[in-house]
Amino acid sequence: MQSINLHVILCAINDFYFELAWIMDSLPQPVLQMHNISKSFGATVALSNVSMSLYPGEVHALVGENGAGKSTLIKIMTGIYQPDSGDIIINGNPTRLHSSAQAQAHGIAAIYQEPLVFPDLNIAENIFISHRRRGFLVNWGKMYRDAKKVLKRLDVDLDVRAQARGLPLAAQQTVEIAKAISMDVRVLIMDEPTASLSAHEVTQLFKIVRNLRAEGVAVLFISHRLEEVFEIADRITIFRDGELISSRPTHEVTREDAIRDMVGRPMGKVFQRQPSEVENVVLSVRDLSHRGKFEGISFDLHAGEVLGFAGLIGSGRTDIALATFGIEPAHDGQIYFDNKPVNIQSPRQAIKMRIAYLPEDRRQHGLVLPMSIAANITLPIMQDYANALGIVQNEKERQTAQDYREKLSIRTPSIDLPVRKLSGGNQQKVVLSKWLNTVPRVLILDEPTRGIDVGAKEEVHRLIDQLAKQGIAIMLISSDLPEVLAMSDRIVVIREGRQMGIFDRATADQEQIMGAAMGQLEMERDHA
C-alpha cells in the first residue's frame, strides 16, 4: 500500500512539474523588456525606474502628457539614447543598443507622425531602401514582387510603382510600416501615427495594426487621442513626469481613470462652453470658390460667436481659412466685412482689418523657432514697436511679452528663450499671444489644440470661451469632433470642398456631423 501510495505521489509530483514546465513554456515570453530604466538630462529627470514589457501579438498603448517621458523611452528603445541605468532585455537576453541600426537588427523599428519617405523614389524602392543585402544591380522585377507581397500582408492596395511624392500622409505611413515589416520587425513603435490622419484613414491604419497584431508583432502605440487608444490597445500604460503610473489591460481602465492618471488630478469632461448671445454680423462669405479646393461656401460670422468647421482632413477647411486671411485669395465669390464688400489679397490687408489666423502648422507657419518668445509675439505689428528711426523699443516689446506670459500662463523661465525650447502647448500659447496682440475682431483658429497635452488643451478651450465673451468672432477649425461640438455655437460641415450644411449646436450630434462629413447624408438623399 505504502509503495503504491508513494508511486502515486511521485507520479503526481512528476505530472505537476511536467505540467508546470509545459505551462511555463506556453506562457508568452516578452519580446522586449525594459527593466528599471532611468535617464536624466542634467538636472531634469526624464525617466526614473521605468519597467515595462512588450509581448508579441499585443498592442500596447503609451499615454501621457507632453514631457511625460514617452519620447525618451522610445529613443532608448530605438538606440538613439542610452539609459543611465537599467537593462534592455530582448527575447530574454540583456542587450545594449548603441544605434538605431542596431535596434533595427534586433527587429525594433519606429514610425513617426511625419513619415520619412523619399519623394522621388517609388513605393517599392522606399520599402526596400535600407535593406543591407543588395547586389550590384537592382533586380526590379523581384523588388516589385516582394513589395507587393509585403503590402498584401498588410492587406492594403497601393501601386508599388507609384512615386512617393504626392501620396497622402496615410499612404506614406503605410509605406513606412511596410518598410518596417519587410525587415522582419518584431517590435513596431508608432509615435502619434494618427495625429495628422482623418477619421477614415485612422480606421485604415487600425486595420493594418490589427493585421500586424495577428502576425505576432508587438506594437507600441502612442497617441494623444484617448478614443483611439481605447479602440485599438490591449494594454494601456500611463506615464507622468518620467514615471510609470499604471499599466493595465484596456478593459480594466476607464477614460476617466486614464485622464486622472495622466494629469494626476481628477478632471471633468471636455470643457463645455455655454452658447453665446448672437451679436451683429462681422464677416460674411458668399459663394466663395477656389478652383480645385472649394466652391460655393457661404456663411455669416457674428461677433461673440464660435463657428465650428468640421470635416475630414483635406476637405478644404484650411483652404477656406487661407482665402479669408488672404494667403491664397479665392477666385470667385465675395467676402463682406462689416457689411461692406472687401477684397483681401494679402495677410497684411487681413491683419489691417483685424482678422487673425492661427495656422494649422505651428512650427512652419506660426513661429520663428530660433527667435525669442518676445520677438515672436510682436512680429505681426512690429512697426508699432519701432520709433521713427525704425529702432525697436525693446522695453515695450518685453512688456507686451511679459503681459501675455502672465495672461495666458505661458510656462517658461524667460521671455528671451527661443520658442524652439518650449513644449507644444506653450508654443501654441505664444502663437495665440501673437495674434491676440493684434487685437483681432475675427480670429480664425486652425486646429488650435493639435499635438498639445490635456492640460494645455483645456486652457486653450477656456481662452476661446473668454475671447468669444469679449465679442471676438471666432472660426474654429478642428478635426477633434467632441471639441467642435463642445466649443461651437454653430457648425459648418465641409466635405470635399463643398459645404454640407450648417448645424445648430443644440440639435447636432457626433453621428450627424460625421455622417455629413463623410457624405452619408448625400447617399441617403440619392436613395430617397
Binding site: V368, S372, V392, K434
Partner: protein, 408 residues
C-alpha cells in the same frame, strides 16, 4: 566649463574670431618688423576697401536667406559706365550719377526676379554676374580709360589729416554713439539667436569702458592722422550704420525672420517681397558705389574691373559666422572676419608668400569655420554628461528660472 556656463558669450563664434584675430596680429608682429607700422595698417584697408563696402550688404543678403553673386559684375559695370561717359566727354558728376543709375537698374532686375518671380537668387544673380559683365565689355570693349580729375581720385588716394578740434568733435560723437550701442546691445544674450538682443542701461563700469574705448579710438585716430584715406573713414561709418540696421531696427528683425522662416513671415503679414527687393537694391547700389571707389583708387578702368571679387566677399561673410542657409549671424562677426582675412593676407604678403598660397590659406580657414562648430558639437556629445553642452543649456535655463522666480 564652469567659465563657459557663467559667460555664454565665450561660446560664440565671434569670440573665436577675436582670438584668431589676436593670434594673427601677434604672429604678424613677431614675423615682420614692417607690419606694425601705421602706413602698413592703413594699407591693409586701402587695398581691399571696395570689397569691405560690399561685405556689409552681402551680410544682409545672406542672413535674409539669399545670395548675390552679381556684385563684382555690378562693380565692374558701374566703373565701366563711369569710364565710358567720362570718355565721351560728360562731366564726372553726371558720369557718377549714370554709374549709380546702372547699379540701381541691376538691383531692381535682381530683386524683381528673386522676390516677385520667385526664381532662386543663385540662378538670378549668376545670370547677373554674366550679363552685367557683358554690358561692361560692350561699353569699354578692350579700351582702358583713365585720367580722372584730381578731386575724384584724391578721395580714395589722399590721406586725411585730422586736426585737434576735429578730434574733440569725434571724441564726443564716439562717446554718444558708444553709449547708444552699449545700451542696445547685450552680447550676453542670444548665444545662438543673433537677433535677440536685449536692452540694458550701462552701469558705471560700462560707462568707464565706453569712455576708455572711445579715448583709445581717438588716440589711434590721432596717430593715424595722415595715414588713412577718406574711404576708410566712410567705411567705418557705414559699418556702424549697417550694424545698427541689422541689430536694432525692425527692418533688421525682418531680415532675420525672413531668413529663418519665410512662410512664417508671410503668415505674420510681413512684406517679404518688398524686403527682399530692398535688400537686392541696397546690394547693387553698394556695389555700384564700391565700383566708383575702385575707379578712384586704381585710376584707370578696363571692362574686367573687380572681376572675381564676389568670391572674396562671400568668403568673408561666411567666415564671419553668417549661415549660408540664412537666419543667423551678426555684424560683429562679419567685421571681425574682415579684419582676420585682411590681416592674414597682409602678413603673408609681407613674408613674400605668394598669392596662390594666400588663397589656399583663406580657403582652408573657410572650411574650418564650418567644421569647428560641427566638431565642437560632436565632441560635446561624447564628453561625459556633466561637461556636455546639452547640460549647459539646461543649467542655463534653470539659472534663468531661478532669476525669474527671484524677481517675481
Amino acid at each position: 566649463m564652469k567659465l563657459l556656463e557663467r559667460y555664454p558669450w565665450l561660446r560664440r563664434w565671434e569670440t573665436l574670431l577675436f582670438v584668431i584675430l589676436c593670434a594673427a596680429v601677434f604672429i604678424n608682429i613677431s614675423l615682420s618688423e614692417h607690419y606694425f607700422n601705421i602706413d602698413n595698417l592703413a594699407n591693409i584697408f586701402h587695398l581691399s576697401i571696395e570689397k569691405a563696402f560690399v561685405v556689409l550688404v552681402m551680410a544682409l543678403v545672406i542672413i535674409n536667406g539669399e545670395i548675390d553673386l552679381s556684385v563684382a559684375s555690378v562693380m565692374g559695370l558701374s566703373a565701366s559706365v563711369l569710364a565710358y561717359e567720362f570718355e565721351k566727354g560728360a562731366s564726372l558728376e553726371s558720369a557718377i550719377s549714370y554709374a549709380m543709375l546702372a547699379g540701381l537698374a541691376c538691383g531692381l532686375a535682381n530683386g524683381f526676379f528673386v522676390a516677385y518671380l520667385n526664381i532662386p537668387s543663385l540662378v538670378v544673380t549668376l545670370a547677373g554676374l554674366i550679363a552685367y559683365r557683358g554690358a561692361a565689355r560692350i561699353l569699354l570693349e578692350d579700351r582702358s580709360v583713365g585720367n580722372f580729375p584730381e578731386w575724384f581720385t584724391s578721395f580714395a588716394l589722399d590721406d586725411v589729416y585730422v586736426s585737434i578740434p576735429t578730434l574733440l568733435f569725434v571724441l564726443v560723437g564716439l562717446i554718444l554713439i558708444g553709449t547708444l550701442v552699449y545700451q542696445f546691445t547685450n552680447l550676453r544674450q542670444a548665444v545662438e539667436e543673433g537677433a535677440a538682443f536685449r536692452f540694458r542701461k550701462p552701469g558705471p563700469v560700462g560707462l568707464v569702458l565706453i569712455t576708455v574705448l572711445a579715448a583709445v579710438l581717438v588716440y589711434m585716430l590721432a596717430l593715424s592722422s595722415g595715414a588713412f584715406e577718406a574711404t576708410t573713414y566712410v567705411f567705418a561709418v557705414l559699418y556702424l550704420i549697417s550694424l545698427g540696421i541689422l541689430q536694432f531696427t525692425n527692418f533688421g528683425r525682418y531680415i532675420y525672420v525672413i531668413g529663418n522662416n519665410r512662410a512664417g513671415a508671410e503668415y505674420a503679414g510681413l512684406r517679404v517681397k518688398q524686403v527682399k527687393m530692398t535688400i537686392f537694391v541696397m546690394s547693387a547700389l553698394m556695389a555700384a558705389f564700391a565700383g566708383l571707389m575702385y575707379a578712384a583708387r586704381v585710376g584707370n578702368i578696363r571692362a574686367n574691373a573687380a572681376e572675381g571679387f564676389e568670391l572674396d566677399i562671400i568668403t568673408i561673410v561666411l567666415l564671419g559666422g553668417v549661415s549660408i542657409f540664412g537666419g543667423t549671424g551678426t555684424m560683429v562677426g562679419v567685421g571681425l572676419s574682415l579684419l582676420v582675412v585682411l590681416n592674414l593676407r597682409n602678413g603673408m604678403s609681407l613674408r613674400n608668400i605668394n598669392d596662390n598660397t594666400r588663397a589656399s590659406v583663406i580657403g582652408a580657414l573657410l572650411i574650418l569655420s564650418v567644421l569647428i562648430p560641427n566638431w565642437a558639437q560632436t565632441i560635446q556629445r561624447f564628453l561625459p554628461r556633466t561637461l556636455s553642452g546639452d547640460n549647459l543649456t539646461l543649467d542655463l535655463e534653470n539659472k534663468e528660472a531661478r532669476e525669474s522666480t527671484e524677481t517675481a
